[in-house]
Amino acid sequence: MSLFDFFFPKRPATASIAKERLQIVLAHERAGRDSPDFLPRLQRELLAVVTKYVAVHEDMIRVNLGKAGSASVLEINIEMPAGAGSKAKAKAVPA
């Protein structure tokens, strides 16, 4: 670091930070804007069904409506807790 830099430190251009933050938050908000109203309810009902068999948390289930070419794709992601397979089986047997 030169003596000049020491006395006049370069500050990061805050405008570029603003731009980056806006691009991220708006990409997120625009995706949410186009999704139909039933998604949160679908997510809750799916969660209720899945928790009957596997102990999953609310934040372990994700429902998204995306696009692949001209078709709409309903994507459901359920994250299973470690060792859930055996528990699921055990619970399912008596039923």
Binding site: A13, T14, A15, S16, A18, K19, R21, L22, Q23, V25, L26, E29, R30, R33
Partner: protein, 272 residues
């Protein structure tokens, strides 16, 4: 055929009323019969900015309720021919802008005027939705600042889903971005989002750049649309924006810092 223009932003304090006043005055100066309507029920201010606050007798809500007719409520501007101001009411009843009443008033205005400018309140509540509902074109007033850009994006989404044109599946509302309170100096220092940044983020065609200017406050102090001040950079920028709106080509001014003379530049820097 009348054209309805909504001046909107989502965020408050970015310059919607200043822009509505300047735009209406600019269009009227070009010979178009223009009316500017205040949709901010309960927080009336267009009358002050236009300098006709002492001439308000009847308002938008009186006309909607049938207590007065349009001609009684419209205020003719004393400086500019063809320009009329339609003030709103100071009532606290937020639902006073009844849908069918507003439809009726708009239909009546459309018969008589070339341009109808709707000065929207801030927010995304009833007043703002009513202001944008009839729009054929939207002027989206945005400051180069994160909260304003985000709220503009939100209002752009609402224009595309909640306007009459969207509901009837007609041609979408024409969108125009107006960047206000722009400081080329600060952009050059990397302290402020640039025109290009905002255009890229919002992807709406740019109608104009209004530079940050002391003359805007001075104009509103005296109740004069800033476009009538020939010495004001903001006024000249509004004049350009109105010209572009009606299809003229104008160079995009005020993007770069003003070139200062050698001495002024040197002394200016030394003094700051």
């Amino acid at each position: 055929m009348a054209k309805v223009i909504v001046v909107t932003s989502g965020k408050g304090g970015v310059g919607k009323t200043t822009t509505s006043a300047a735009f209406a005055a600019g269009l009227a100066l070009r010979g178009h019969k223009t009316v500017v309507i205040d949709f901010d029920v309960g927080l009336r201010n267009l009358d002050l900015v236009m300098g006709c606050e002492r001439r308000v007798v009847f308002d938008f809500i009186n006309v909607i309720n049938g207590d007065a007719n349009l001609n009684q409520a419209l205020i003719r501007d004393k400086r500019i021919d063809n320009l009329y101001i339609f003030p709103t009411s100071q009532t606290r009843d937020k639902e006073a802008l009844k849908r069918d009443g507003v439809d009726r008033v708009m239909a009546e205005l459309k018969k008589d005027f070339d341009y109808i400018i709707c000065d929207s309140p801030a927010g995304i509540e009833h007043g703002a939705l009513t202001a944008l509902y009839h729009a054929d074109a939207a002027v989206i007033v945005t400051n180069p600042e994160v909260s304003s850009v985000r709220d503009s994006d939100r209002i752009i989404g609402i224009l595309a889903s909640k306007s009459r044109r969207a509901e009837k599946r007609e041609k979408p509302v024409e969108e125009h971005l107006l960047l206000t309170r722009y400081s080329p100096d600060r952009v050059q220092k990397g302290e402020m989002l640039s025109v290009e940044d905002v255009k890229e983020i919002l992807s709406v065609p740019l109608l104009g750049i209004i530079p940050e200017s002391e003359t805007v406050l001075k104009a509103s102090n005296t109740g004069m649309p800033v476009i009538l001040d020939p010495g004001s950079p903001a006024g000249r920028a509004y004049e350009d924006a109105v010209a572009r709106f009606v299809g003229e080509q104008r160079e995009m001014r005020f993007q770069l810092p003003e070139r200062r003379g050698f001495l002024r530049g040197w002394f200016g820097r030394a003094a700051s």
